[in-house]
């Protein structure tokens, strides 16, 4: 996570895991968000709560360029303004009905969401591309110990031939995006995936030991 005085970028998901017309839950810092991609391919992030009756928007559905709440179908634009209230089809929703939104950047196959107002752009991956994501039930310290390397200020760990991009979740979980060189062949990619799984086991073992001490 790259932090500066005004905000930070969180790598919330890989582009490949969010096809057009879908929504997923994600997290930035302590907050749940709804991450969605419109039919035309634009990514947006909003608070994971419809202001009408508090339903999680990440359970909703995407149609065209809007996300709709699954409870009553209220739909919202990428900017967060309410577009439609199906119970009152003739009503133009007032500007005051809106969901909180967050800035999104998508680059090199990674979706970044801003917490606050970052002054900079998300970090570059420098010749690496995402392979897969996995959730590890361990904190950064245990993952660093398992990888034998320390995360830099951008939350990136260099471990042998792979790079790990970390995003702290909640309750001792960390979302880890595994990166490989952009010219890696299939065999190298398979090896990298297994390396990441071994690293997960090691980090979770360390976490388990830590909790009983």
């Amino acid at each position: 996570m790259l932090a500066d005085t005004t905000g930070s970028w969180t790598p919330v998901a890989l582009s490949a895991d969010l096809p057009a017309g879908t929504v997923n839950p994600a997290r930035i810092a302590t907050e749940s968000i709804a991450l969605w991609r419109s039919d035309s391919g634009r990514v947006a992030a909003s608070a994971d709560r419809c202001p009408h009756r508090g339903m999680r928007l990440s359970h909703g559905f995407v149609r065209g360029e809007a996300i709709s709440c699954i409870y009553h179908g209220w739909s919202y634009a990428q900017a967060g303004n309410c577009l439609r209230i199906p119970a009152h089809p003739g009503l133009v929703p007032p500007e005051t009905i809106r969901v909180v939104t967050h800035a999104v950047e998508e680059a090199d196959g990674v979706i970044w969401v801003a917490f606050g107002t970052p002054a900079s752009i998300p970090p570059k991956l420098d010749g690496f591309v995402p392979l897969r994501s996995l959730t590890i039930l361990a904190m950064t310290a245990q993952i660093e110990a398992a990888a034998g390397a320390v995360a830099n200020s951008e939350g990136l760990i260099e471990s042998g031939t792979i790079r790990l991009l970390l995003s702290t979740q909640h309750e001792g979980e960390t979302l880890v995006h595994v990166l490989v060189k952009d010219d890696a062949d299939v065999a190298t990619r398979i090896t990298a995936s297994r390396t990441a799984e071994n690293l997960r086991r090691t980090a979770e073992d360390l976490q388990g030991k830590g909790s009983v001490q």
Binding site: G54, H59, H72, A87
Partner: protein, 281 residues
């Protein structure tokens, strides 16, 4: 949390048909209770410290209270009407406030999205104006002239019809719904939602029905209602916050939510706040 006002109310704690000597261990507003039949076969509800709690047997269910109910259990006249079929639907446990479960039951605008192609379907999403009042003489919330287009309103309905509804809230965690009866247009089907507050954020929902339907098998009737309530559960367990917010700034109602607005106002007026969140957090 204030338990005081709600502690003297009646709550469902089990089915009469499932009473046995071994008993059912459950909870009421955080207190472990035992619902059993005694040596004479009579229903007996025992509180956490061994004290005997008041009991009523009505509408297919055993009712009890941790406090000292000042009022008798609310009447449902249709429960004594000849020709009706009484259906114990069973229980659905939901991780939500008991008040949120009732509010969802009072809502029709979610039908096309949550009960798609059963109780509603796009593009028939409009909620027409209806009437809501708090009837002071009986101290109940009533919504009448509620109309909605439904693809399959009941197990006994074939094809889409515009269904008319009336809703009653006679107790803080109970609601009675009167609904167009497809085989007998002059009568109303009665579907109730009896909610047992296990704690402020978890409840057992006991639907019960009094219908004019001699055709549908009991299994199909129960299955139909179970499907509906399981669809509702996927919503109720994902609302934030889990407690019902009574702070008006926390959620945004529209005209379609007039029943919910009246229900929240009535809860506030009576200090029925077990399962409610009073201040935004």
């Amino acid at each position: 949390m204030t338990m005081q006002a709600m502690i003297d109310e009646w709550y469902p704690v089990g089915l009469i048909s499932q009473l046995d000597a071994g008993g059912r261990r459950t909870a009421l507003m955080g207190e472990p209770i035992l619902v059993a039949s005694d040596i004479d076969g009579k229903a007996k509800v025992t509180g956490g410290n061994g004290r005997i709690l008041p009991v009523r047997l009505r509408y297919g269910h055993v009712w009890s209270s941790l406090g000292d109910p000042k009022n008798e259990l609310f009447p449902i006249p249709e429960a004594d009407q000849p020709g009706r079929r009484f259906v114990d639907v069973g229980v659905v446990r939901v991780r939500c406030s008991p008040l949120r479960a009732v509010e969802n039951f009072l809502d029709i605008a979610h039908f096309p999205f949550v009960h798609t192609d059963i109780l509603g379907a796009e593009p028939h999403t409009e909620v027409q104006n209806y009437k809501v009042e708090i009837r002071e003489d009986v101290d109940e919330v009533w919504a009448t002239q509620v109309k909605f287009y439904q693809p399959q309103a009941a197990k006994s309905a074939s094809g889409g019809i515009t269904t008319e509804y009336m809703y009653r809230v006679p107790a803080p965690t109970c609601s009675v719904l009167y609904k167009t009866c497809p085989p007998r247009p002059s009568e109303w089907d009665v579907i109730t939602l009896f909610v047992q507050p296990l704690a402020e954020d978890i409840c057992d929902v006991w639907p019960w029905m009094a219908l004019f339907d001699d055709e549908t098998s009991l299994t199909d009737l129960i299955h139909f209602q179970q499907t509906i309530f399981l669809q509702d559960r996927s919503i109720l367990e994902n609302q934030i916050p889990r407690l019902l917010p009574l702070d008006p700034g926390m959620e945004i109602p529209t005209r379609a939510d007039l029943t919910s607005i009246a229900y929240r106002r009535w809860l506030k007026r009576h200090n029925y706040t077990y399962g409610a969140q009073l201040v935004a957090q």
